[in-house]
């Protein structure tokens, strides 16, 4: 080789320490070096000319330039090499400035020796360099801009105006970002809506811009010039292409939600448009998921929907949601006797009490009957199916299964041994709780769909189960649990001891029953209470005996209270020991007192008898209500699997039994449970039977699943102050001697008030009131998310910022003080289109504040909050806000607490001086240590460092200049894009000074605050800069990439995959067939990590092979 060595003086930077002449002379002695010189400024025009001329004149084929860091001038000399006619990769830099001259400033001799050594080392490397050519990559000339704030808008417009197509993706329903929310911008006090909306409109109408709002980036793969982007378009449940923005839907929506566009200072509807000038000008529905009520209801009724419709006074829609949409035939029944698990999970209970969902349902059913005198629901049975399904048991589970299956077109027959359908609804529940006419009308409705009923028929006696199996395509067993449990104590067989269900059935069916004057009921469940209150109404004296205390009673609390109100005494912590008879007739009972011990398996404390506390009472009858079991003898000798407790075994999700075409639900498979559990089972089993008969998989694509827990919480903070009312009931003296319905129900005003208590956990309630109003028919509640794919060549990330939540600043109240707000919220108060029409008012009481304190650096410049940086805009906007406040409240006092004032833009300093001098804003230098609330005022504890005194100031309102933080989701996005973030989450630029728009991944650029806090002026410049980088990229047809990238020696490579797992750019794949690594030359950035990790040395960087490196090490350590 013929190598030239050029040593730069770099003025005195190198020559001041290193003896450059000596080094140049010594360098000539290195093998293969045919020329060596030194010059004062190699990078200058004459220096480069010297370089080029020497190469030509001396016929050099390689050169080492000993000067500053290669990051500064490697490119310079490689370009010069091209002009000189040699391959640029035969030029290497030896850094003798930063690495030698500067550190060894006081040791010139060492520096000189070291410089020579380093030059020798680099020459060694150069010997084995190969000529490389820049890689060419084709470019798709379309750009992706992520983020539709002013930065994204500016970049998109610049690129689009440059003639190229832009895809703009924004996660909110509108573009505009934060700038559109401001009231006026500093220092000119321009109206941001006036200056930004024209740009927004341009974006919306530009032929080159494809706008995806309410969308997020799902996935990005590929490399510069060739990115494949998957975009998730979130469903707004509104077809944006049809929506005209007329706002009729929002008028009728009954759901109110805190409005994030107004700093949560006002409310908006669940169907909303962020603001009137939104681009695109369309409405979006926000649904948060399945609310707790719907999730926990075994029948998954759309509870929030009918409650919301009721709140709007639209009872017709409410009952329609129950009857038609949820296909629930039992509105009147459930509204009276359901055990309402929905109310248990209702999030309103965390504010005061849960919503009276059951009574709302009842009101709707009663209203329907009152106004229409019929059950107003119609179903279309699409096609009649020939399959025959037999339902055993006309109780709630059987009736529900029958109803659902009939609506699918199947031939359904229900068999029951009672004379009328209803099961325990008919025989177990007294009519003062469930009037017989309410029961009849809803069962008649089921009959009207064509379900056949065969009553007075007992399976196992009148017809065998085997015969049913043979004659049906599917069977549902909803036979219930009617075998009453015995206590197993002495005297149980004496005449006069009766079972509660047996007793209640006789009364409910109007049969005669002999009952003495003195009756005891044993038990604590609903049957016990029902039996006791029924006995009372038959004119007898009755007491209840229960072995635990009132807290553990499983009966519905309201029922227990009503019983006590009616004068029924409950003997708690008491249990029967034996029954005493005379002439085989019951005469008395021995009782014993109990005490509560440790909890048992049900979690309730175990009752333990108290020794020696026995006593005897007289009684004529004892009604035992201690539980039931399923009675399965009706199945005959058919083999069907049972559980260890004697109920039918079913699959948890599909409710299928061990016989494939037989399904079961309700008490017969659960053991004694509730009405709504039975209904849910009937529904799930019906869906399973339908899938079974359609030969579909029973588990996939199910509409009905078991109840589950929802994590959603409601909007507790805006809950209206309305108490839950007790349901109006007949006074005791009017009801205890008859079976009239005890609860008389709420009236219209009361029920609307109750419905208003719902705090809308699910967001949109799916009440569907909006659909009727939408003329263009743009609303579709079943619309799903959509994934679209785009191919682009360059990406600009402009994800902007958020403000640090005040919750993170407990010293400033932690968000609990209403009148302490942040800068963006105050902007909304000042903005003409904001929640107060531009008049600053206190959020707590709506009064105009007489004094406002503005606190700078709330979170910023604070390492204790992990935010050591300055947010740059607060000094200016707080000055502006103070001024705007003073413009409105002339005699108001505005204080700004500051540490420094950073007003370094054009016109900024003058602006701040104006605030101080003309507007009389009071500037106090000192960080505020604590803010608290007292008597409706906000108290500030701070310090005035210029006076050297502590300050305690009482003001009406405080505005915090909270820190800017990266947008939530920016870190996740950065991971998807494989770009870096700094320790705060801001996107990382390649070089802070010289390359502030590029990331370490070629083809991906950053714009605006996503990189670091800046004001609008700088953001717009930054964004245009990023656009220009993209335009410059697109101006070529091919992109040239550095060829110092990884390369694989396939002879040595074993395909172990270590390099693939190391590569941070995902540039390496393993060819499975050949079992070798393959480097994607377009993506590889030449970081070298793979080379370090490769155990066999198969993958190395071009011109930086392992042997090159080892040889350099030999030389530099003097080891030769």
């Amino acid at each position: 080789m013929r190598i030239g060595v050029f040593i730069c003086h770099c003025g005195l930077n190198i020559a001041g320490t290193i003896d450059v002449k000596k080094v140049a002379e010594e360098a000539k002695k290195i093998k293969d070096v045919v020329f060596s010189t030194n010059y004062i400024y190699m990078c200058s025009e004459p220096g480069q000319q010297l370089f080029i001329d020497t190469i030509r004149d001396y016929n050099l084929d390689g050169a080492v330039v000993a000067n500053c860091s290669p990051t500064l001038h490697e490119r310079t000399f490689r370009n010069a090499a091209i002009r000189a006619g040699i391959n640029p990769y035969k030029v290497e830099i030896a850094n003798i400035r930063e690495q030698i001259s500067w550190p060894h400033m006081d040791e010139p001799e060492i520096a000189t020796r070291k410089a020579l050594r380093v030059i020798e080392t680099v020459v060694e490397k150069l010997r084995r360099n190969i000529s490389l050519r820049l890689n060419k990559v084709p470019i798709t000339k379309r750009a992706l801009v992520i983020g539709g704030g002013i930065a994204g808008i500016q970049s998109a417009l610049d690129i689009a105006d440059g003639g190229y197509e832009v895809v703009l993706v924004e996660k909110e329903p509108t573009i505009g970002g934060k700038m559109i929310l401001l009231s006026e911008t500093f220092p000119t006090l321009d109206c941001p809506q006036c200056i930004e909306t024209p740009k927004m409109t341009d974006v919306g109408q530009h032929p080159n811009i494809k706008l995806y709002t309410y969308s997020e980036i799902e996935n990005i793969s590929g490399y510069i010039g060739n990115f494949d982007v998957k975009i998730k378009r979130k469903t707004a449940y509104v077809d944006y292409s049809k929506c005209k923005g007329c706002a009729d839907c929002a008028e009728v929506c009954p759901v109110l939600i805190p409005d994030s566009y107004n700093g949560f200072l006002s409310l908006r509807k669940a169907i909303y448009r962020p603001f009137a000038q939104a681009v695109p000008n369309v409405f979006t529905i926000e649904k948060k998921g399945t609310p707790p009520c719907k999730a926990t209801c075994p029948a998954h009724l759309n509870v929030q929907g009918y409650v919301a419709a009721t709140r709007a006074g639209r009872f017709d829609q409410g009952i329609k949601i129950i009857r038609e949409e949820s296909r629930f035939p039992f509105a009147g029944i459930a509204g009276r006797i359901c055990t309402h698990p929905c109310e248990r999970e209702c999030d309103r209970k965390n504010v005061d009490d849960s919503v009276s969902i059951k009574y709302i349902k009842r009101f709707l059913a009663d209203w329907e009957w009152k106004t229409k005198n019929k059950i107003d629901a119609s179903f279309e049975i699409k096609e009649e199916r020939k399959e025959k399904i037999t339902i055993i048991g006309a109780g709630p589970s059987g009736l529900t299964a029958a109803f659902d299956l009939r609506l699918e077109g199947f031939q359904v027959e229900v068999i029951d041994k009672l004379p009328e359908p209803g099961g325990l609804l008919l025989t177990g529940i007294p009519s003062y709780r469930l009037p017989k006419d309410v029961l009849k009308r809803e069962i008649d409705f089921i009959k009207s769909t064509g379900v056949k009923f065969r009553m007075n028929t007992e399976v196992g006696k009148d017809i065998s189960f085997k015969e049913i199996l043979e004659n049906s395509d599917a069977v549902f067993i909803g036979a219930g649990a009617h075998k009453e449990m015995k206590m197993g104590i002495e005297g149980e067989e004496i005449e006069g001891v009766i079972g509660a269900l047996h007793f209640l059935k006789k009364v409910n069916l109007g049969e005669d029953i002999e009952l003495g004057e003195n009756v005891f009921v044993v038990g604590g469940g609903n049957s016990a209470i029902d039996a006791a209150r029924t006995t009372l109404r038959l004119g007898k004296k009755v007491k209840i005996v229960y072995r635990r205390s009132i807290e553990e009673m499983p009966a519905i609390k309201d029922e227990v209270e009503a019983a006590i109100e009616e004068g029924i005494e409950i003997l708690f912590l008491t249990n029967p020991v034996r029954f005493i008879g005379e002439n085989n007739k019951l005469k008395g009972m021995e009782l014993i007192k109990m005490r509560l011990g440790e909890p048992d398996s049900s979690g309730r404390r175990r009752p333990i008898p108290v020794e020696g506390s026995n006593y005897i009472v007289d009684c004529d009858n004892v009604i035992l209500a201690i539980g039931e079991k399923p009675e399965l003898s009706f199945l005959g000798d058919v083999d069907i699997k049972k559980t260890e407790w004697g109920s039918i075994l079913t699959d948890e999700i599909t409710l299928q039994t061990s016989i494939p075409k037989v399904f079961a639900g309700g008490d017969v498979s659960r053991g004694p449970a509730t009405f709504i559990d039975a209904v849910g089972d009937g529904r799930r089993a019906a869906e399973s039977i339908k899938k079974f008969l359609n030969k579909e998989d029973l588990y996939e694509n199910r509409e009905f699943l078991p109840p589950f827990k929802s994590d959603l919480k409601g909007y507790r903070e805006i809950a209206e102050k309305i108490d839950r009312k007790k349901i109006p009931s007949l006074p005791v003296n009017e009801r205890i001697n008859n079976f009239k319905e005890v609860e008389t129900g709420f009236n219209e005003e009361q029920i609307i008030e109750e419905a208003k208590r719902c705090i809308n956990c699910g967001g949109c309630s799916e009440c569907k009131l909006c659909i009727e109003k939408c003329e263009p028919k743009a609303i579709d509640h079943n619309r799903k998310d959509e994934i679209v794919e785009e191919k682009v060549g360059a990406i600009i990330v402009a994800t902007g910022f958020e403000l640090l939540p005040i919750k993170e600043l407990p010293e400033y109240g932690g968000g609990k003080i209403k009148d302490v707000i942040d800068g963006l919220q105050f902007e909304r108060l000042l903005c003409a289109s904001g929640p107060t029409a531009g008049v600053p008012k206190r959020p707590s009481d709506g009064k105009i504040p007489e004094s406002v304190a503005f606190i700078s650096c709330a979170g910023s410049r604070d390492p204790a909050h992990n935010l050591a940086y300055c947010s740059r805009v607060c000094c200016m906007y707080l000055a502006k806000q103070a001024m705007l406040y003073k413009h409105q409240v002339h005699n108001g006092k505005a204080y700004i607490f500051y540490i420094d004032i950073r007003s370094n833009g054009k016109g900024y300093e003058e602006f701040v001086q104006r605030a101080k001098e003309e507007e009389e804003v009071l500037y106090i230098r000192g960080k505020v240590s604590k803010i608290y609330e007292k008597n409706g005022k906000v108290v500030i504890l701070g310090v005035d460092t210029l006076l050297g005194e502590r300050i305690q100031l009482e003001v009406d309102m405080v505005v915090l200049g909270t820190a800017m933080i990266p947008s939530s989701g920016a870190r996740e996005l950065a991971k998807k894009l494989r770009i870096q973030t700094d320790e705060y989450g801001w996107l990382k630029e390649v070089h802070l000074k010289l390359r502030p728009l590029e990331t370490s991944t070629s083809g991906i650029f950053i714009a605006g605050v996503s990189q670091y806090p800046k004001d609008i002026t700088d953001t717009v410049s930054h964004a245009s800069g990023a656009a220009s980088k993209v335009l410059s990229l697109f101006s070529k047809d091919e992109y040239l990439r550095e060829p110092i990238i990884a390369s694989v020696d396939t002879d040595v490579c074993s395909g172990c995959g270590i390099c693939e797992s190391i590569c941070p750019y995902s540039a390496i794949t393993i060819d499975k067939r050949k079992k070798v690594s393959v480097v994607n030359e377009a993506i590889c950035e030449g970081c070298g990590a793979c080379s370090a990790g490769c155990p066999s040395g198969a993958i190395t960087l071009k011109n930086l092979t392992k042997s090159q490196v080892f040889d350099m090490v030999h030389i530099i350590t003097g080891d030769y």
Binding site: P810, E811, G814, K930, Y932, E933, K934, N935
Partner: protein, 289 residues
């Protein structure tokens, strides 16, 4: 689990009301804590100099004592004792070299400390027992009374030993609420009491006493409750001097929170420790008793 009780100096002298009431309350909720048979000064302000191992010897020696007597946990009542011993414990748990150095220095001790003892404060111990369990012990409802909780600084700083959130702690409020009394939202609950300035620069303390007590009055508190003998000295004992300096100063009863619990649990009057209080608290409880 064996819990050793470390009293510290003040609990045996000025703050006997704290000790009597605390031990009685702990016994009632099921903790029979035994006092360490030998203990020495916790180190106080000298131990707060954390980069000097010599100053950690005092608390360290107490940890050796606890280990020697076989305790898993040391319970402290006084905030300063809690602060120094807990920080010394953390120091040696994190840095084995320092642990070895200290053990080697204390070569005359028979036991080597290994970082296995936990240091807890009575507020944490009571809270961990379970609010429900403590509520069951309340025999007298303190409904009608309204207390201002005061934490001071040593229980909450530095962050790694704080017994609750440093800016908005709620542990004392949660515990006192079980008695049925109203616990007010007291903005000065973490304000400095003046601390050791009380020795040389009394006026600094009197200013703080004035503003803290005044705010408590303004917010309708019947008494201030606290858990630190130094705070108690500044906020209670110094009220007499405060009244001399500020003629409009109104006094207020100040109690250790355990005294209020002892009363609410229906424990005998001696356990309330009222005779040690510098401002008589009995009047505010007249109706309850």
């Amino acid at each position: 689990m064996r819990i050793g009780y470390y009293p510290g100096c003040t609990l045996k002298s000025d703050a006997q009301n704290f000790e009597i009431s605390a031990l009685a309350v702990l016994k009632e909720i099921g903790y029979d804590v035994k006092e360490l048979s030998r203990w020495n000064c916790c180190g106080t302000v000298y131990s707060l100099a954390s980069d000097d191992l010599m100053h950690q010897l005092a608390p360290f020696r107490n940890l050796i004592r606890a280990k020697e007597e076989g305790y898993d946990k040391i319970l402290t009542l006084c905030s300063m004792c809690y602060n120094t011993i807990k920080r010394a414990n953390l120091l040696v748990q994190k840095d084995k070299e320092k642990l070895d150095k200290l053990n080697n220095f204390m070569y005359e001790e028979n036991t080597k400390y290994d970082g296995s003892v936990d240091v807890i404060h009575i507020l944490n111990l009571i809270k961990d027992t379970g609010i429900k369990k403590i509520k069951e012990k309340v025999k007298k409802s303190l409904r009608g009374l309204s207390f201002a909780p005061y934490y001071g600084c040593l229980l909450l700083r530095p962050k790694e030993i704080a017994i609750d959130d440093m800016e908005l702690p709620e542990i004392m409020e949660e515990i006192i609420s079980v008695t049925g009394a109203d616990v007010i939202d007291f903005p000065f609950k973490t304000e400095c009491c003046g601390s050791y300035h009380t020795i040389k620069d009394k006026d600094v303390v009197l200013d703080k006493t004035y503003s803290i007590v005044n705010l408590a009055h303004e917010l309708g508190a019947s008494a201030i409750l606290l858990s630190c003998p130094l705070c108690d000295f500044n906020l209670e004992a110094r009220q007499n001097d405060c009244a001399k300096k500020y003629l409009d100063f109104k006094k207020i009863p100040v109690l250790y929170f355990t005294q209020v619990l002892a009363l609410a649990f229906g424990l005998p009057e001696e356990t309330w420790g009222f005779k040690y209080n510098k401002q008589d608290p009995l009047p505010i409880f007249k109706e309850i008793i």
